[in-house]
């Protein structure tokens, strides 16, 4: 059972930061609780105060900023993203991803900011956002700062965020002309067994740039530059990707995969190759449509 704790419900980010400063090391941000309350129930973490971020206006909402980037508040739930017409227009791959995070109860309660800050190695959004070149906006006692998501995840359950910092928003750059972004996963339980995200850009008849990220396979979601390199320069034709995809799959197979209940490292490397194919084809199809 969950040990007793105080629940603070600040009205603004500055009040939240002041509350955190008062509570010191004994406080944790509470942004949905689908992971936090579980670890507290299991006795793996104990906090005297939970500071509820769900109602903070600064962390709510989904918008497109002046640069055309998609900005998603840290306390926006998976379900809200899944049902957002803005996200559907700007980043359809994220809608598809969110529609299959865990189960509907988790999606209804869990938030994107909570998901990223918890840094569970099997996170769906983390892998996709890594390929999308997103960055996160943080605000803490020392002020505001921005971090690219590549580098935000340090190790399982550890991020570059300091404990006093709140993840205000996730910012995803607008897709360039001819750019497609897709996410594919193999899922046998609540979390993905392996997931692969691909962002690629098409110009003329060729793929001119590709970024590949893989999740649930290594300690933290990672980019696989060699897989991206293998795809760059390939023809923008889904039926002509055999050799580049095989080279990409080989790059995935070099990763330091970690076996778990969903499968051994070998099996995960195999799945990563399978998912690279489907994610590349999906990204290519979106890219051609945007070209």
């Amino acid at each position: 059972m969950i040990p007793p704790f105080a629940l603070a419900r600040p009205a603004s980010v500055s009040e939240a930061i002041a509350t955190f400063a008062d509570a010191g090391q004994d406080a944790a941000w509470y942004a949905g609780g689908t992971e936090l309350l579980q670890v507290m129930k299991m006795g793996l973490a104990r906090f005297g105060t939970l500071i509820d971020l769900k109602g903070l206006p600064e962390l709510r909402g989904i918008a497109v900023d002046a640069s055309g980037a998609l900005v998603i508040g840290g306390a926006v739930t998976h379900r809200e993203i899944e049902r957002s017409s803005i996200v559907g227009r700007e980043l359809p791959g994220l809608v598809g991803l969110e529609a299959h995070v865990a189960n509907v109860r988790v999606r209804n309660q869990g938030t994107i900011g909570g998901n990223l800050c918890f840094a569970e190695p099997h996170s769906d959004p983390a892998t996709f956002l890594l390929a999308c070149d997103a960055h996160v906006e943080l605000w803490g006692a020392g002020g505001a700062r921005e971090l690219p998501i590549d580098g935000f995840f340090l190790e399982p359950f550890v991020t570059a965020r300091t404990p006093d910092e709140i993840l205000l928003a996730i910012v995803i750059p607008k897709a360039a002309a001819g750019e497609g972004r897709a996410y594919e996963k193999a899922k046998f339980r609540e979390r993905p067994a392996v997931s692969v995200a691909v962002r690629l850009r098409v110009a003329g008849d060729a793929i001119v740039e590709a970024v590949v990220a893989v999740g649930s396979m290594t300690d933290i979601p990672v980019r696989v530059p060699e897989a991206g390199t293998a795809l760059a320069g390939a023809p923008a034709d889904p039926s002509a990707l055999g050799a580049p995809l095989a080279a990409g799959a080989e790059a995935m197979a070099e990763l330091d995969a970690v076996g778990d209940l969903d499968g051994s490292a070998d099996f995960k490397r195999h799945l990563a190759g399978v998912l690279l194919r489907s994610a590349t084809r999906a990204a290519l199809s979106e890219a051609i449509a945007r070209a």
Binding site: M1, P3, P4, N103, A186, F188, R189, E190, A193, L241, G242, A243, L245, A246, A249, L261, D262, G263, S264, F267, H270, L271, G273, V274, R277
Partner: protein, 765 residues
Amino acid sequence: MRRVTTRATPPSPIGESVPRRDGIAKVTGAARFTSDLSVPGMAWAKILRSPYPHARISSIDTAAALALPGVIAAVSAADLADVELYYGHALADHPLIAHGVVRYGGEPVVGIVAEDPATAEEALALVSVEYDPLPVVTTVEAALAPGAPILHEREAEQRPQRGFEEAIERDHPNVCSSSTQRWGDIDAAFAGADLVVEGDFRYPISYAYAMEPYTAIAHWSDGGLTVWSSCQHPFMVRDDLARCFHLPLSAVRVIVPYVGGGYGSKSYTKIEPLTAALALRADRPVKLALSIEESILTTRGDGAVVHIASAFDGDGRLRGRRAEILLNTGAYAENSPLVGRKAANRICGPYRIPAVDVTCRAIYTNTSPASSFRGFGAPQGIFAGESQMDEAAERLGIDPLEIRRRNVVRPGEALWSKARGMDADLDADLLLAADALAWDTPARPGRGRAICISASDAGSEPVTTSLLRVHADGSVTVTVGSTEIGQGSSTVLAQIAAAEMDLPLDRVHLLQSDTTAASYDRSTGASRTTTLVGLAIQAAARDARSQLLEWARDALAGGGTVEPAKGGVLVAGVHHDWGAIVRAWFAGAGGEVVGRGYLRRAGSMTAMPPFWEIGCVGAEVSVDEETGQIRVERLVTVGDVGCAINPQLVESQDVGAAIMGLGIALSEELVYTPEGSLLNGNLVEYRVPRASDIPPFTAILAERGDGVGVYGAKGGGEGALNPVAAAVANAVRRATGIRLHEAPFTPERVWRALRERDPGREGDG
């Protein structure tokens, strides 16, 4: 649901899908489960569990926990010298709290009683226990290897309620029990065979997930003990409590409120002795409510390693079957001796086999104790046996349906000597499943189909009683000892009583599962309730009616003639209902008649088993060869139940059982490391099927009136689980050419088998 009926038409409301009586209370939240109850003065318990899978306890210090305000008692085995610590209805090998040694990770070591659950939980962290770790075995192979650590040094008492006649055989200290099934000349059967198929199969350690975790409240008062518990077998629990606390049976009252699912996991005694011991030391009523994670550590299903060989004639007829089954039984016997007995019987399948030589040994390991699990020893062996039927069919060039039709016993034919003759038409069942799968038309490319069948010697021991009281207004109260665990017995048994007394259903009420207020029933398991308790109610109704006839003659007809009539009697052409007879006999406004029903091993219940429970399942599957994921495209069940008292409830049981079987076929497995750590003891990582996992489903009920129960009924509810893993494996074989030997058929296992099929195969680009 499709019903195929050749039986006689029974009286109303038999055969009608009346709404379940507990339905509204359950869906509106009005139903009170054990965890909803409280007793004045009640305190709360939490359990400190062993972090080691095998260790000696060198010291326990509870002083700091006791010093915490709100803590009432801290209890370990040392505090229970006046209690018989070891219980078990088969082998009394299970201490209600660890006694010097822990034998599995999660075993209760200290119980804390406090004013509230949070304080009790907090106090757990203040208890200090020192352990000396011992070597660990988690697999049957390791437990039988030379030099393996011995789990039980002390010889456990054999108990009479084990469910079979012979003594428990133990040929190795880590063998909990050993059962055999032998007949015919096995060597000659194999020597003269045209085909022998032989192989090894593995069945997982699984968890019979029920939504309600184990919960009990114990209250000592007036020299006796009352326990409210989420248990299936209150009378068995009563017997264990009486023995542990040196009480007469009449001083122990076990009451079962609403129960949130059992599936075998709540059969026999679980946390009741521990809760009662804590209440005794705390001198307060105590509630112990486990979490699901703790429930997973409390009992689970037996895993199995099966080596099996089957000998066939060239025309596909079985000549002989040899099998060695090793059950991973965990740290304590619980009900595994009976599971082992049944596994040895059931691996023979529903087939005519001239020679059989089967041994099943239940093996102690340092894992949580295994006990009953829906299907009960059948699915472990049926997976192996039914896989071999398809393998033989393939090698002999015979259709898999046809090879089964050639081998199933005919109605009335006994599977082994002295057994009850087959009370089912297995050939007809196979044809129903085949028809639902369109067996005669080829499957679409990439798909495979299979039909598998099993027969279980079900019903347990025919020991049950019922009282049926007809009140002065003619309404009826029926008492039975069997438990409503969600299967629908409170509805079905009321339907039987209403039919037997010619009354509308709303004039009948039931009192169930209270060892003092209700009448005796051995157990709620082995699919026995409709059949056996139904017969006891019928006997009680007949007894009541016969008394009522006599009373009518006496009080209404002046000793003259009375004519039985619907819901009462006719005296000189005037109808008198049951209530009028009662009132007249007592010469007033009150009174009641008490009808008694006894069921024992006599008459129609002489031959064992009481009935055969049939599992007949068809499956159609496809396989994603890239990810190894199996997709079940259609599942078919044939519920051969004689007479469906409430068809909708039977259908629910068959669908539920088949989906539970599908869980084990595809995903469910408790994974232990060799060091004894359980890796997935929670519902996030132990994957139970969801509503969204239910495939397109065809449920067929075959009602031929051939059961021993009322109106030709016989038991259901477990059978449909038993052949599912085999049906999926055989269908996968037909879809892909791979043969799966280890359940669950996880994507990785399927992928590895596909790689073996196609050496050197890599991605298709």
